[in-house]
């Protein structure tokens, strides 16, 4: 007579399946966390307000910047000093003040080298490092730079960043 098999899973089977499921879940988690983090970071940077601040910073650099404002040292230049880099220091000082700008950087259009410099030099704040890491590398363009502005985001009052390209 045919005998019905009433046995359930043995311990080894259960363990193998559990380990397999746990591995799949941990892989999913490891891949999902950076995606979520990047989404959150992108939500905080380059907002519409920060883009307009970056636009005015670019305009000021092109229209009122001195020749040395694009002479990069160590692959970048901090152009926050109004007397050294602008022909109209008063306008520059007022612009920085009303927009709560703490730093303006001019960097190459392609960010590949600048990104690794920011990561290793220890000269930049943690928030700047995090922001730069979220940006794409971009292909090099002749006579092109990027302006990166560090300021209090007008909407949230939190330090944020905005970037825009500059063609000379």
């Amino acid at each position: 007579m045919h005998c019905k098999k009433n046995k359930g899973f043995v311990l080894v089977e259960t363990l193998i399946v559990s380990v397999f499921i746990m591995m799949t879940l941990s892989l999913l988690y490891a891949n999902l966390v950076p995606v979520v983090a990047e989404y959150e970071r992108r939500e905080n940077y380059d907002s519409v307000s920060m883009k307009y601040i970056a636009h005015w910073a670019r305009k000021m650099l092109i229209d009122k910047g001195k020749e040395n404002a694009f002479s990069l040292v160590d692959g970048y230049l901090e152009v926050t000093d109004c007397t050294n880099y602008y022909q109209d220091p008063t306008f520059c000082e007022n612009f920085l003040k009303v927009n709560d700008i703490s730093n303006i950087y001019v960097v190459p259009y392609s960010l590949t080298e600048f990104k690794s410099y920011v990561k290793t030099s220890g000269r930049f704040s943690r928030s700047m490092q995090e922001y730069i890491a979220t940006l794409p590398n971009y292909e090099n363009k002749p006579n092109a730079f990027r302006v990166i502005v560090e300021a209090k985001d007008p909407t949230t009052d939190v330090i944020s960043y905005g970037t825009i390209e500059v063609i000379r």
Binding site: F95, V98, T155
Partner: protein, 162 residues
């Protein structure tokens, strides 16, 4: 021999207690998540509104070249531009705090931009000023569930010359 016994009443009671505890726990978690989700959707709506208004005003300030600003009251101003739009070189801005709306456009043809329809969301203050040749606008939006008030803040240079 085949076991034909069902569950004992103690087993059933224990199972029910465990399942009930899990359901109650999950219910709290879901309710909490639902609240957070709603607040986040409110924040997205007001951010979209702020972005839209920022773009509208800044684009005019940049493209039409802001020449002068006359602040007519604590919540209204008239702008004069170097470049025309729709046959006019001036625009007016009215921030209607009580109505929860911003009105902006060509003089006599103002368009109304109402804040998103969110319960308890309101415009709490509006500041217009001219400081060192910059026009400063700050409109604050409050909601009891927002941790930080949202701001529409613009600083545009007046009579910018290259």
């Amino acid at each position: 021999m085949k076991n034909k016994k069902g569950f004992t009443s103690i087993e059933l009671v224990v199972s029910f207690v465990i399942v009930s505890a899990i359901v109650i726990g999950l219910f709290d978690v879901i309710l909490n998540y639902q609240n957070k989700q709603q607040i986040s959707s409110y924040e997205s709506s007001i951010n979209a509104y702020i972005n839209e208004m920022t773009k509208l005003l800044e684009d005019d300030f940049i493209m039409r070249k802001l020449e002068s600003v006359t602040i007519t009251s604590t919540s209204s101003a008239t702008f004069t531009y170097a470049n025309q739009k729709d046959g006019s070189t001036t625009s007016q801005l009215f921030v209607q705090i009580a109505d929860g709306a911003i009105r902006y456009g060509k003089t006599g043809e103002l368009l109304r931009y109402s804040i998103p329809k969110i319960p308890d969301l309101k415009i709490s203050s509006c500041t217009l000023q001219i400081q060192n040749q910059f026009f400063l606008l700050e409109i604050i939006f409050t909601h009891p569930n927002f941790q930080v008030d949202k701001k529409l803040k613009i600083a545009a240079p007046i009579q910018y010359r290259a």
